[in-house]
């Protein structure tokens, strides 16, 4: 009869020496009335534990007097002798023997033999215990890795296999799970009438549970998006589906937007997800819309907002794995850095590459990724226009200026900020500024009559080595427009009014100026080469530093 006591499972297992599992030893006890004894646990506070730990050799159980439930159990099981198995000062088991078959008492030789046996068996038993413990840990790790693999498979199976190709648009996406696989997901959903739904989301929790919730969310969202038009209503429907079955302490943040590629309109709703950024000619801005995460409570409404992605604009949808990545000092990458990156970098795939580079520099190249990282970008190409079969013209920006006195400054400053970086020399840029200012002033005054509800549209286009600035009002072919050629001598003589210099200045400031009208729209197009054209015969001043 032998029993073992583990360091963490203080348990005495009484077992007949004649069972199939335990070979009979010379010191084996004689047969007992019980073939097998029920296991005996030693509680951590049982005095028998301390006694056996400090015992110098085999212990006579019958003569031992302790207030010990385990000792009482041993006695009841018929154990006569208990030999402690101690390895490196730790009691790891007890060898229990019943009465001898000869019914004689154990001799001193028997006890010495058992002590020697215990001294040799204890280390071997300890090794066995450690091996078994490591095997158990390995099985746990393997099961964990298998679960992670299952989570990865679920997530990757539910991510888009390919992204749509749209004329005039670049769609790019990046997804990299953390080792423990979070709940990030994204999707691009083809919708009726050529529209596209864009989704980025994050399920709280990690591993298989998060992956399953992600899969459910994605499926419900896809189905709802096909039946419902408004993004806010789609999120409402998804929330109602998820709430009843959502595991405790889990929820889903999700941004869903619908793009009309022909107009650039992007209508979106947000269920508590990180705000997307849109890059315009003025920098990057957050797209805000209010809404609670999905799966928390029923009856939620989701605010809808809309923006227009103009040619050259780009949009970044992202997950918190980007902004919450830490550097070695614990500082997060943060929203301001990401917003600044969107403003500084080109859109599309290049934006993703640049952000990932910045992120690696922030965290350190060898740092383990803390959370899933997901980015989806949507960039609208600069529009191409037909220009009489010549090189294509790309639109840099289009904006409106309210018709109010002094607002020509807004137009000329914005055009200057866009054209300046193209490399136009300073004197030519100053001339273009004056021409844009005068043309805008004419459009506000003579075209729109300074009516506040009629703004002036300004469009800046570039092609090869020139820019075109188109300034449009709603005055059609108005008799109010300047037609008189100003003559200073006539003005000084009182034969012409002092004003009337605008169109004259415009035509003298730029390389070409063309007027066109279509219905109520009247457009003056200003053409300016980046550098002085070789064919320009006008006499101009030198390369001055302007103030």
């Amino acid at each position: 009869m032998t029993s073992l006591t583990g360091s963490f499972r203080r348990r005495l297992l009484g077992r007949s020496a004649e069972t199939r599992h335990e070979p009979r030893a010379r010191t084996e006890p004689v047969d007992t009335p019980h073939e097998e004894v029920a296991p005996v646990d030693i509680a951590p506070n049982d005095p028998l534990l301390a006694f056996m730990q400090s015992a110098s050799g085999a212990v006579d159980v019958e003569s031992l007097e302790l207030d010990s439930p385990a000792l009482a159990a041993l006695k009841a099981a018929g154990v006569k002798l208990a030999v402690p198995l101690v390895s490196q000062g730790e009691l790891i088991g007890v060898l229990n023997l019943g009465p001898r078959r000869s019914e004689q008492e154990y001799s001193s030789d028997d006890r010495k033999l058992l002590d020697n046996l215990a001294a040799q068996a204890a280390p071997a038993l300890r090794v066995g215990q450690l091996v078994r413990q490591q095997q158990a840990e390995a099985r746990t790790r393997e099961r964990f890795e298998q679960e992670l693999e299952v989570a990865r498979l679920i997530q990757q199976n539910f991510l888009p296999k390919r992204l749509p190709e749209l004329d005039g648009w670049q769609v790019a996406a990046y997804y990299r799970p953390a080792r423990e696989v979070g709940g990030d997901f994204y999707d691009v959903i083809p919708l009726p009438h050529g529209r596209l739904g864009f989704v980025v989301g994050d399920v709280t929790d990690k591993g298989v549970p998060a992956a399953l919730v992600m899969a459910a969310t994605r499926s419900v969202l896809r189905a709802s998006a096909q039946r419902l038009v408004d993004p806010g209503v789609v999120l409402e429907r998804v929330n109602e589906h998820l709430c009843p079955d959502m595991p405790a302490k889990m929820f889903v943040t999700c941004l869903y937007g619908v793009l009309d590629p022909t107009t650039g309109h992007f209508r979106f709703a947000n269920a508590g997800h990180d705000l997307p950024y849109v890059k315009t000619a003025d920098g990057s801005v957050e797209l805000r819309a209010r809404g609670m995460p999905l799966g928390l409570m029923t009856g939620m409404a989701y605010e809808e907002k809309e923006t227009v992605l103009a040619p050259g604009d780009s949009l970044l949808l992202h997950s918190d794995g980007v902004v919450e990545a830490h550097d070695p000092n614990g500082e997060m990458f943060g929203f301001p850095r990401l917003k600044d990156a969107v403003a500084r970098y080109p859109g599309g795939g290049e934006l993703i590459d640049r952000v990932l580079t910045d992120l690696r520099e922030h965290t350190g190249a060898d740092a383990e990724q803390e959370d899933d990282i997901t980015m989806v970008t949507l960039a609208r190409s600069s529009a191409a226009y037909e220009t009489n079969g010549s090189a294509p013209t790309h639109q840099l920006v289009e904006f409106s200026v309210p018709s109010a006195e002094g607002n020509e400054r807004l137009a000329l400053e914005r055009v200057s900020a866009i054209v300046g970086p193209l490399g136009m020399d300073q004197p030519r840029l100053k001339r273009l500024e004056t021409a844009v200012g005068e043309a805008t002033m004419n459009a506000m005054e003579h075209g729109n009559g300074y009516r506040s509800d009629q703004p002036v549209m300004v469009r800046v286009l570039t092609e090869a080595d020139m820019v075109r600035v188109q300034i449009t009002d709603l005055g059609g072919v108005s008799p109010e427009r300047e037609t008189e050629v100003p003559d200073i001598e006539a003005k000084l003589a009182g034969l012409q009014r002092p004003r009337g210099w605008g169109l004259f200045l415009i035509k003298n400031m730029v390389d070409e100026a063309h007027e066109t009208s279509e219905g109520a729209e009247h457009t003056l197009e200003l053409v300016m080469h980046l550098a002085e054209p070789a064919t320009d015969e006008r006499t101009r001043g030198g390369n001055h530093d302007d103030k």
Binding site: E405, G406, E408, R409, E413, S416, P427, K430, R431, T434, G437, E438, M441, P486, I488, E489, K491, L492, G494, R497, P498, R499, G500, W501, G502, F504, L505, N508, R540, G541, G542, H544, D545, D546, K547
Partner: protein, 120 residues
């Protein structure tokens, strides 16, 4: 470049009246320029000098205001001179032929003393 209402100041020096223009010369400058002009000619100066060193944006309405000053000066037989124009606005003064009717000087001394070219 920032929008700023023009302000004017009139100084008298060596028999000439100097009008300092600070800010944008546009439609909003009309009243200020009229006031400065009246103050400048009150002492019957030998010339009125326009100081553009601190002037900002000048648009076509501002050009028209200067033409108006020039007409008034011609009626009184008072020459107008200018200095401190940036190369860009100097070019505009030449294109509009304002430069044919007022002298453009490189600095205040030459403008006050009339040492540079005279109007034709």
């Amino acid at each position: 470049m920032t929008t700023s209402e023009v302000t004017t100041a009139v100084r008298h020096r060596d028999g000439a009246a100097v009008i300092d223009l600070v800010g944008d010369v546009n439609a909003r400058a009309e009243g200020s320029l009229d006031t400065a002009w009246e103050e400048a000619i009150a002492t019957q100066p030998v010339a009125v000098v326009l100081n553009f060193e601190t002037a900002g944006y000048i648009n076509s309405t501002g050009i028209a205001l200067i033409v108006g000053l020039l007409a008034r000066a011609r009626a009184r037989g008072i020459p107008i001179r200018a200095y401190g124009l940036s190369p860009h606005y100097r070019e505009i003064f030449e294109i509009t032929r304002l430069a044919d009717f007022l002298a453009i000087n490189p600095d205040e001394d030459s403008a006050v003393l009339g040492a540079d070219r005279r109007p034709t």
